[in-house]
Symmetry: C2
Subunit: 492 residues, 2 copies
């Protein structure tokens, strides 16, 4: 299976597309730009959801659910937000189909069932949510409101790719309301930190925290914080964003409150989200020419056990031992699958498990039974070792933790090797073409220069990193004075 | 708070609508017929989801996700299904808005961005899923496929009510594919049994399992199994359905497989679902004139602790004890909230907790500290007792189990008292008007008689119960021979 996979060095993009399908993660559907997330892909997403949901609740948030549809009049209320999403939104105009008189057995839109007001399928929920918050907020005692929603959203993208950019995707969107600017800014940063922690501890993806430039900001935000990751092909991927929305939505929807001095003020807002796009980041950070590589903390199956046998007696003897091993591991909260299928040979099973990125494989045959050992193979570095059955409960949890750490370290080393400081535009273009990765460079702070550089090189400013230091310099393109470096990259 | 609630005896329907809003479960939104599920309501739904999801996985199902949209050509492929949903579906016709030249600052649908093919917002997902399964199934080795999806769906209902009937609702929909008819029928029944078990063990709602008549069947099904519950006002509520779809969808989407004899056959299908409608059933089974009553197994907060104090010293002394109690209870997996708000008096807190149906309330004041006791109040029967602090960890888990059981028993007694055997049509009408509930009566088996009875009385056949016995009789309306009784009721 892995053998049929295009090599990354040959065509990275093709490798990715093939891997998503062959590893049974997702596939394209009959609806343009919309994907089917298959059970194995969805199981990984469920693990992500569970961890994120826990982190959101630990930081005081509650889940709720708001309508899928946004009436046009609400959609257009916050002007910049509307402008940002109007060009790519799905619009419901009718509420009924009827038999088509010109086409027997076919249906058509019933022209008499036109909606009085069009409904936009939510591309994001600020509008519908702030229209709702208006009814919930009178005084500072009603604040803060700390809500998250798990939902599907639709953005009518013209060029789509599985997980990375799809017309419909799954995500979570936090929407919070605060009495003070400082509190809203603290929330924005806190949630970006939560995303960074999740990416690093669970996805084993190192990320750079920073702030977007004006032109890369969320439509309607004052500031967009983000976490940026680097893929194996040297392109960056925005893995999560957290927006400080100021009072923009409160003003658009007239959401005022009485503060603790008895005065009326507009409410301060944040919103923050991550989506099934994270699946793309996960794949492109760790996987290899043999297929998917999953960090143990997100793998639906952490250990797969493959029996090697020639007859029923051997199979039965192995099964007894495997059941015992599996029970012991499950008690340690290790997820184990016994691949007892009789329809596939061990070699085919090995290939499939490699392709699907199961972190550890145990193979056990008659010789192993005699010696009371098993063969243990790591997916990430493809190494094997023989260990005593009695050692399994000691070795495996440790090894899973080790793999998690090794994946992170490997990705971190790659990322750190691909941040290049550059001081003139020729060098900038050269590094971008030959090495890729993040380029740390001075920029004059104008959207015009940013746009020009983008046109010439396809590189964008990924972020102004939080941990950047003040440093006098000159813009690589205009040579104007600059006070700090920003991070450029080509990006997904 | 509970004091302002309309009494059930006065106006049951008004009581329900008020309770949903006042208990902070849900509210109407700016989108016609769509609701906002508020955090407290959503927390109950999350508990339902978690338990159901576990039960689905224990019966071998996996989650996946399919597109929100169904292209019109797929929607109309299975004729009966299409006919059943065409009259109430939201249709996306355009993929862009633009500035309205006639209305400055407003947007309008861009007439040039009309979709080539309309997209129906899924009212149910058989069409899009069976079109996908076509690519997944070649041989009997690919079967069964056992998939569930958690999703939002849209049915453009004209008359809506919070939770009970909304244009958008949340649900799960299982869609399975099988090699044999027998296996598909077994799956259909198994999932109806899962629903019954969930309703009884977690929701504390007794249900009657049965099969729908032809006219009440899911559009496109051969048979619809269901669980039927009885609300406090004597009306029935369909709480879950499980459909045997035969080969209807396989034929509509040409999904064939090679069976183990090497022959081609169409695949057998089931689908099954429960929705946020269950919230309505939960409310109308247990709640009273004081507000919500929640079964402990689904209550987001099982125990609330209210401090009674006159000064900071008392508050601090109470807090020390409460924290200890709360820790001990949490170790026993009891969810506890310490309501330490300084903005509300104890009386107001009591009223709110009653309104929101928290199963147990602990009140603790200076006298209690002296005596090392607390006052414990049950929400369901409004009884109080004083218990020693040392007994809390023994008493509370037992009491929660007792409340769960008592709620079920109370609902079961009510339900059993409201199944009336009736043998002529005059009696039928009289029982329906005076007592309500299920009426067990003979019916001639024709849709015409069923329709006629519905027109005359608003009662429908809720189901042909599984545990019904063969019994000679005569149809209450036509006096034609009948072999078994069916259950009639007015229904939500």
């Amino acid at each position: 299976m892995g053998k049929n996979l295009t090599k990354r060095a040959e065509d990275y993009s093709k490798w990715y597309n093939e891997l998503v399908v062959k590893a049974d993660l997702a596939e394209n559907s009959a609806v343009r730009g919309c994907m089917v997330i298959k059970p194995y892909g969805y199981a990984i997403w469920e693990k992500m959801q569970a961890e994120l949901d826990k982190m959101f609740k630990e930081t005081g948030h509650q889940n709720a659910y708001f309508p899928l549809f946004v009436p046009k009049s609400l959609f257009e209320a916050e002007e910049k937000n509307a402008e940002g999403f109007a060009k790519e939104c799905a619009v419901v105009t009718h509420y009924r189909l009827q038999n088509d008189p010109d086409n027997e057995g076919k249906l058509r839109v019933d022209p008499e069932a036109r909606l009085e007001e069009e409904l936009v399928v939510r591309p994001t929920s600020e509008a519908i949510i702030w229209n709702t918050y208006k009814g919930w907020i009178q005084s500072y005692r009603d604040l803060p409101i700390l809500i998250n929603q798990w939902a599907n959203v639709v953005r009518w993208e013209m060029r789509t790719r599985l997980f990375l950019r799809t017309a419909e995707f799954l995500w979570q969107e936090g929407h919070t309301a605060h009495a003070t600017e400082a509190e809203a800014i603290a929330e924005t940063k806190q949630m970006n930190d939560v995303y960074a922690k999740f990416a690093e501890n669970f996805m084993a993806i190192p990320v750079i925290k920073g702030v977007k430039t004006e032109s890369e900001r969320f439509a309607g935000a004052i500031d967009t914080h983000c976490i940026e990751a680097l893929m194996q092909d040297g392109k960056a991927l925005q893995a999560g964003t957290s927006h400080f929305l100021g009072q923009n939505f409160a003003k658009a929807f007239d959401v005022k409150f009485t503060n603790n001095e008895g005065k009326q003020d507009y409410v301060w807002a944040t919103s923050w989200g991550v989506s099934t796009r994270l699946m793309g980041a996960l794949i492109m950070t760790h996987s290899d020419d043999q297929g998917l590589v999953l960090p143990p903390n997100l793998a639906p199956i952490q250990v797969v056990i493959v029996p090697i046998y020639k007859n029923d007696d051997q199979f039965n003897a192995i099964t007894v031992v495997v059941n015992k091993i599996a029970d012991q591991l499950r008690e340690l909260n290790v997820s184990v699958k016994f691949d007892s299928r009789t329809t596939h040979r061990p070699g085919a099973k090995f290939a499939q498990h490699e392709l699907q990125g199961i972190p550890l494989r145990i193979a056990i045959g008659p010789k192993d039974l005699e010696n009371e050992t098993v063969e243990l193979a790591r997916r990430d570095n493809l190494t094997k070792q023989t260990i005593a059955i009695d050692d399994i409960t000691n070795v495996i949890p440790q090894l899973l933790a080790q793999i998690q750490e090794d994946l992170y370290t490997k990705a971190l080393n790659y990322r750190d090797d691909h941040i290049t400081e550059v001081n003139d535009f020729e060098e900038f273009k050269k590094v971008l073409e030959t090495k890729g990765g993040f380029i740390s460079a001075h920029w004059d702070g104008t959207p015009e220069t940013e746009q020009k550089i983008k046109e010439l090189t396809k590189a964008t400013i990924r972020c102004i990193p939080n941990d950047g230091i003040e440093e006098e310099g000159r813009c690589i393109y205009t040579s104007t004075n600059s006070a700090r470096r920003v991070l450029f990259a080509k990006a997904y």
